[in-house]
């Protein structure tokens, strides 16, 4: 309504002057920048910065659900620090992020190299490789949980009938196994994104470079290491940054796959914070637990951004 009305009025001379004034104003880089950045920044401030500050305040109080509590200083943080479950959760998170990222990178790179070749059904294969990435995590995690189920596991069936095992493997019933299962599922889910992004990176590399190297007698591995890899490095770093952030604060996968069990051995920081903050209603402690993720992520990103800038500068 207002848009239409405005357009109708625009015909009037006075309005025309005003619009001209607006355009002139937008010619200034500063004004245009402000105008362009405002919508995004407003949303981010309103829905991230402001709640973030509130969450910071929560973490310093004894707030419980339905009870605002009072200022307790760093008590929530020290309690978390001395909490053995939190310590396990933190170690798990690092373990999970580290291995999942390594696998996603290695396998994603390999897959990207394969997909970069010409073969029949290329389009459909490329599209289907993205499926794990696009299905909602909670839903695919349920499918995996069903595959790992102690009583019904199809994996056990396969391995048993191939004669590899005589009794079932404790996929989710042993803490260490369950953690590796989570790594596998996360890799499965995240690998396509790595592969497609790296594939995009590969396509920017001119084939001439490879031919030149091949003429010089360089083997495939050598060519990858000395031609492809250095050129892919910036892209790789960006993907790794995003992946580390997502994996480190992952919640859905563990929530569905193990719920943090058996015996609290598979909690991640996010799932444990959720259990404390939400299930037990200790909002202050939950906020403090979640906040432990922030400095780690911050450090990772800071280093990587700095590195990127250095690469950019060269």
């Amino acid at each position: 309504m207002t848009v239409a009305g405005g357009a109708a009025r625009a015909a009037r001379p006075a309005e025309r002057v005003r619009i001209a004034g607006m355009t002139r104003l937008l010619e200034s880089e500063k004004v245009l920048a402000v105008a362009l950045l405002t919508p995004g920044v407003v949303i981010l401030v309103l829905f991230i910065a402001y709640p973030f500050v509130m969450a910071l305040w929560y973490s310093l109080t004894s707030i419980r659900v339905g009870d605002p509590g009072h200022f307790v200083g760093l008590a929530n943080f020290t309690k978390a620090w001395n909490d053995t479950v939190f310590q396990t959760a933190f170690r798990n998170t690092v373990f999970y992020t580290f291995w999942a990222t390594i696998f996603k990178l290695a396998l994603g790179m390999w897959l990207a190299l394969l997909l970069n070749r010409h073969f029949r059904f290329k389009r459909i294969v490329r599209a289907s490789m993205l499926l794990p990435f696009i299905i909602p995590t909670v839903l695919s995690a349920f499918a995996w949980r069903w595959m790992f189920d102690p009583t019904f596991s199809v994996m056990n069936w396969v391995l048993f009938h191939m004669g590899i095992i005589t009794d079932r493997l404790p996929f989710l019933s042993d803490g260490d196994w369950a953690m590796w299962c989570a790594v596998v599922v996360n890799t499965w889910r995240g690998m396509p994104f790595f592969a497609i992004t790296l594939l995009a990176g590969l396509q920017t590399i001119s084939p001439d470079l490879h031919e030149a190297a091949a003429l010089d007698g360089a083997g495939a591995w050598h060519r990858f290491w000395h031609v492809t890899w250095p050129l892919l490095l910036p892209v790789t770093l960006v993907v790794v940054v995003f992946s580390v952030i997502q994996t480190f604060s992952d919640f859905q996968l563990i929530y569905v796959l193990t719920g943090g069990g058996p015996a609290n051995t598979t909690h991640l920081v996010a799932t444990y914070a959720y259990q404390v903050g939400v299930a037990s209603g200790l909002l202050g402690e939950g906020a403090a637990l979640s906040l432990f993720m922030f400095p780690v992520l911050f450090a990772v990103v800071w280093f990587q951004l700095r590195y990127l800038k250095r690469v950019d500068a060269n």
Partner: protein, 432 residues
Amino acid sequence: MKRRKFLKAAGASGLAGILTSHRAPVFAQANTVHILRWNDFVPAADKVLREVFAPEVQKALGLKLNVETVNANDLPARATAAIQSGNGPDIIMLLNNLPHLYSSAAVDVSNLAADIAKAGGGIYKPAEQLNTVGGKWVSLPWSLVPALIAYRKSWFDEVGAKSFPKTWKEYHEVGKKLKAAKHPIGQTLGNTFGDAPTFTYPLLWSFGGQEVDAKGKVVLDSKETIESVRFMAQFWKDAHDEGGLAWDDSNNNRAFLSGDISASLNGASIYVAALNGADKFKTEKGAPLHTDILHAPLPGGPKGTHAYHTAFNHMVMKYSKNAKGATEFLAWAHKKENYEKWFVVQKGFATGPTREWEKHAMWNNDPVMLPFKTAPQAQSRLMGFAGQPDKKAAEAWNKYVVTVMYAQACSGKMKPEEAVKWAAGELGKIYT
């Protein structure tokens, strides 16, 4: 082109529909009651709420009843968010002693509780403890889902157990033979809300262990507790399906129904599922599975026999703009003639909040369900024993401290003594 036009039109009307849909409740709010409950295991019971209660409430009280059901594990998240944001369902179902956790957000329903008690010959004592804080009723007990061991009669017979073992020691012996016959006992020790704590707490108590003393001092690290953990670790190895460490509340149902395990602590859901799917679930001899299922209470230990049954309560929320309507609805729903409609479809899976319901004719229908009738009376202790089932007990319960203690010893990750020490330490941080 045509298709695009259609999509556009559908998009526009759908968008308008959805965007305006939130306005409807605003003026309808005065006479709408939004109730949030778990997804009932007995789906027919949810159907009663939606298809029988809703129209009748509309007629009787002029209330529009909006029933929402979610996975029980997600209830606390929804309650927390609703209370913090002061916006959400008018009535929220809370399990066990969670009403203590959310008491500050509750409307006082003491009068209503008194009416229900009077009409029904008294509310069970444990239910009173779970739902009152400082002498005030903060929520109303709706039902109790007793946890009993469902077991395969024929398999127990085969190993020479003519009746269900009365003590842990006998159960251990029988279990050994069952596992040797490839029919292990199934029990979850995972982080899950129902079947795990309803097993581990009574086990602890029957050996004489307790979380705290009457004054709230942590006394878990005792000879008795260690004894119970040591027993369980051995029992686990000898008689249980070791996959149980990864189970949630549903795994044992599936394992039992598929003939993988011989016994499991559970609500009546295994039996009810076998009953409803008599053609699907068969014994290895081809008979309907339900004819081979019986129920028994947990065995006893050196310090008696104990049980804990999962309690389902309704809290009227203080933030609700229609607390009056919500209270009226609960009063209506607790009336005998109305409650009964919900009660009978449960077939005994859930028992009523008052003694009165033990007398109901439904119990005569099926002798296999009979042990559930009086199960609530056996509920001797609550979480946080020998203290109160208060906020702290709820925190310990929600963090699965007791369950994890057993799980750690059973998985071999810790020695029994270490597991107990760890759990006592965790309790110590909660009871400060």
